[in-house]
């Protein structure tokens, strides 16, 4: 059960977007930076793009859920905790331990990964616009949870070594919860999240199996 209406929710997102403007431009540019690092074939250090994604989760957890959305829904505090936890996991795994390197392999995982990254940056807001969110309430990566979750699935699929499964748990939960809420208050853009999460998880597991097989 969702304790608010679609109109009130979109009004809240519009308020949040207005409050942060023009941070949306910076967020979109940072999204493009992540996309650039992902497409560029390299095996170098990926701390910077990991940090960008981690900061996005932190910003959505604290700014969107804890400080803003919690006025409408007590459950926003749970989402805030999950998003902050994911940010910490990303920092620990990809920045402190540096156990995360991006690489475009031209395989199905990389192709879907790049497609998800691009969709998170451009497709998600456009789909929102096409389905009636209005320009004021456009969902923007790094600002709003839906595209941030989608960006993360694309990002995880571009890891040279299989992404640690612990990094997929919260994005999977967030995708399911986000889509359920989107279904209940008629926000069709959020319905792309579960297919992306299922495909992402399946491809990560397949990559892990391949790596284990190659290691034997």
């Amino acid at each position: 059960m969702i304790p608010f209406s679609r109109d009130v929710f979109l009004d809240l997102v519009a308020q949040y977007n207005a409050l942060l403007w023009p941070a949306q431009i910076a967020a979109l540019l940072l999204g493009l930076v992540v996309l650039y690092f992902s497409i560029r074939t390299h095996d170098g250090n990926s701390r910077f793009p990991v940090l960008i994604v981690a900061v996005s989760w932190l910003a959505v957890g604290i700014g969107y859920f804890a400080l803003h959305f919690s006025t409408l829904n007590w459950a926003a505090w749970l989402s805030a905790a999950l998003f902050v936890t994911q940010a910490l996991l990303l920092v620990w795994t990809g920045v402190i331990r540096s156990g995360f390197r991006l690489h475009y392999d031209n395989d199905i995982a990389s192709q879907i990964g790049v497609a998800l990254l691009a969709f998170a940056i451009a497709g998600y807001p456009l789909l929102g616009l096409a389905t009636g969110t209005g320009t004021a309430a456009l969902p923007i990566v790094g600002i709003d949870p839906g595209p941030t979750v989608l960006l993360t699935w694309g990002f995880l699929l571009l890891s040279t070594t299989p992404a640690p499964l612990v990094l997929a748990v919260i994005p999977f939960i967030a995708a399911c919860v986000g889509a359920a809420a989107g279904w209940l208050i008629d926000l069709p853009a959020d319905l792309v999240l579960p297919p992306a999460a299922v495909a992402g998880l399946w491809l990560i597991l397949a990559k892990r199996r391949r790596y284990r097989g190659a290691a034997k």
Partner: protein
């Protein structure tokens, strides 16, 4: 204490007989009934005899608008209209996001809220958290005493009941209630109704969800417990199913000019029901709802006819 107004109860046969004699009553304009000059029908709270209007106001979703000034101003108009129409009970919960804050904000800005019967809920685990949550509700509503504090969906009810019995003695709450919704945990609720000193019960009852008629409503009557009905429109489901269908010819016999009034009159005409709490964010819908608290109510025969009619749709 509010003045009690005894409704005229008229069955279909009686109405038809009346029609034969007088002719025009079937289309008695409901607009005239909406005039606040005609008091709302009231029902007595069995525990005290105090009368409250049979139509109250719920706040689930509709009043949860956060801090947006424009949306709060819209909701203020709804609350204002509620009191203009002679409304009494406003029911909320900490579960409903910003609804309590919005109601409190509205109450602080209107002058005619003397008829308010404040009802909210405690919805958390542990006695300590419950006390904290209820104290927060006092602040949000801007009240020093609640007319009714309910234990929401039976959550940790034993712990909260202990607090509330103490608070009732101290005058912080006037009545104690317990709630459920959507047909859940009826066995537990019935057990509490039999064994605990509660004044109110809140449950789901509408023209499609009739389960409460079998056990809970007769039990409430037997035990002298007031009944608040939530989801009288089945969360809009009744409108989805029947709104496009023609209103029956005999709707005028019970002073209904739209489906909302027919749905509500069905609910509040049950002899065990004290009050229904439809929720809306629109003033025009609020006025339609409140008009259901005036005029004639269906008797048992008419109620059966109402059910038979919607079964044909």
């Amino acid at each position: 204490m509010m003045r009690t107004f005894e409704p005229k109860v008229l069955g279909r046969r009686g109405f038809l007989a009346g029609l034969a004699g007088a002719g025009a009553a079937a289309n008695m304009p409901t607009a005239s009934l909406a005039a606040a000059a005609i008091p709302l029908i009231t029902r007595a709270i069995p525990a005290s005899g105090e009368a409250i209007p049979i139509i109250g106001m719920g706040t689930w979703i509709t009043m949860n608008v956060g801090n947006d000034p424009a949306l709060r101003a819209d909701r203020l108009k709804v609350v204002q209209a509620f009191f203009d129409e002679g409304g009494g009970m406003i029911d909320s919960s900490p579960m409903y996001g910003s609804s309590e804050a919005v109601i409190g904000d509205s109450l602080s800005k209107i002058a005619n809220s003397r008829g308010l019967f404040s009802a909210t809920k405690v919805w958390t685990l542990s006695q300590w958290m419950g006390v904290r949550q209820m104290n927060n509700s006092f602040d949000l509503w801007g009240l020093k005493r609640f007319d009714l504090m309910q234990i929401h969906n039976l959550v940790d009810w034993e712990a909260h009941l202990e607090t509330l019995l103490e608070w009732k003695k101290e005058g912080l709450v006037r009545y104690i209630g317990i709630t459920t919704s959507h047909g859940r945990r009826h066995d537990d609720l019935a057990d509490i109704m039999r064994k605990q000193p509660i004044d109110f019960v809140q449950l789901t009852y509408n023209m499609l969800d009739l389960e409460a008629e079998d056990r809970l409503l007769p039990l409430a009557k037997e035990r002298g417990i007031a009944v608040i009905v939530n989801r009288p429109f089945q969360r809009g489901g009744l409108f989805d199913r029947f709104d496009s269908a023609p209103l029956p010819d005999w709707a005028g016999a019970i002073d209904c000019s739209n489906w909302a009034q027919l749905f509500l009159k069905f609910v509040v005409s049950h002899p065990a029901v004290t009050c229904a709490i439809p929720a809306t964010s629109r003033v025009d819908h609020l006025r339609q709802n409140m008009a259901a608290g005036r005029g004639r109510l269906p008797d048992a025969e008419m109620r059966a006819q109402m059910i038979r009619y919607i079964e044909t749709l």
